[in-house]
Symmetry: C2
């Protein structure tokens, strides 16, 4: 079997505790949140500055992994669509992509936003949003 082990590099700390708090229409109106990065990954933040634009990749740990198709936004008037052509959280590998701006930095905690992710969501990667930062 072709499988790979992802490790959490940190966690989201947000006022969004669950579905009832989450904006339904994407990131519009989503709050800022803190990314708490594990101390052993602290060096991976070297050079980080307020104002930088990042892409945060999360593991949507509450999402179902056995769903391959659905009605976009659960609207049954919309045609059944494969999850690889939606942004539904339910998918075989429930990865979330979040473009954010760095608002504040406190040691290994980054305040970023706007971000639509539940409190406690694992963070698995962070990248520069700029292709000019290619490593």
């Amino acid at each position: 079997m072709n499988s790979y082990i992802l490790e959490a590099v940190g966690f989201i700390r947000s006022t969004v505790k669950g579905r009832e708090d989450a904006p339904r229409q994407g990131p519009e109106g989503a709050p800022d949140a803190w990314l708490e990065i594990e101390l052993r990954f602290a060096e991976a933040l070297l050079g980080m500055e307020v104002g930088h634009e990042l892409i945060v990749i999360t593991w949507l740990h509450e999402a179902r992994r056995d769903v391959l198709k659905g009605h976009p936004r659960s609207d049954e008037r919309r045609p059944l669509t494969g999850v690889f052509y939606t942004r539904s959280p339910a998918r075989p590998n429930p990865l979330g992509l979040h473009p954010v701006t760095v608002r504040a930095i406190e040691c290994t905690r980054l305040k970023v936003g706007p971000i639509e992710a539940f409190d406690g969501t694992p963070v698995v990667d962070i990248k520069s949003a700029s292709t000019r930062a290619d490593g």
Copy 2:
């Protein structure tokens, strides 16, 4: 330990066989490639059409996972930078993000491009690039 199991949903089939074939400056000049999706995930492609813009997430299986900082583009004149503020493939969880356009569809194979990924790279997720496709 907080870890999660990713499964390959498919693989990249590309003329880019290794580093010597890869464009060094990001996706400019990168070729098209085929995504071969595993048959058991075929339904997740429902509704896919030529011309759609996607974000393909790969597992960069040849990248080092023990690197936390480096000189961007291996240029020693550039300051040491944490991998969370670069797009270097070497990082704790070596996920690759590839914005692409669908060029052709043949059953469970998608031709997409331009994409800078080595032949044989596992694909772990595919999403619409449009937030209007929110599930």
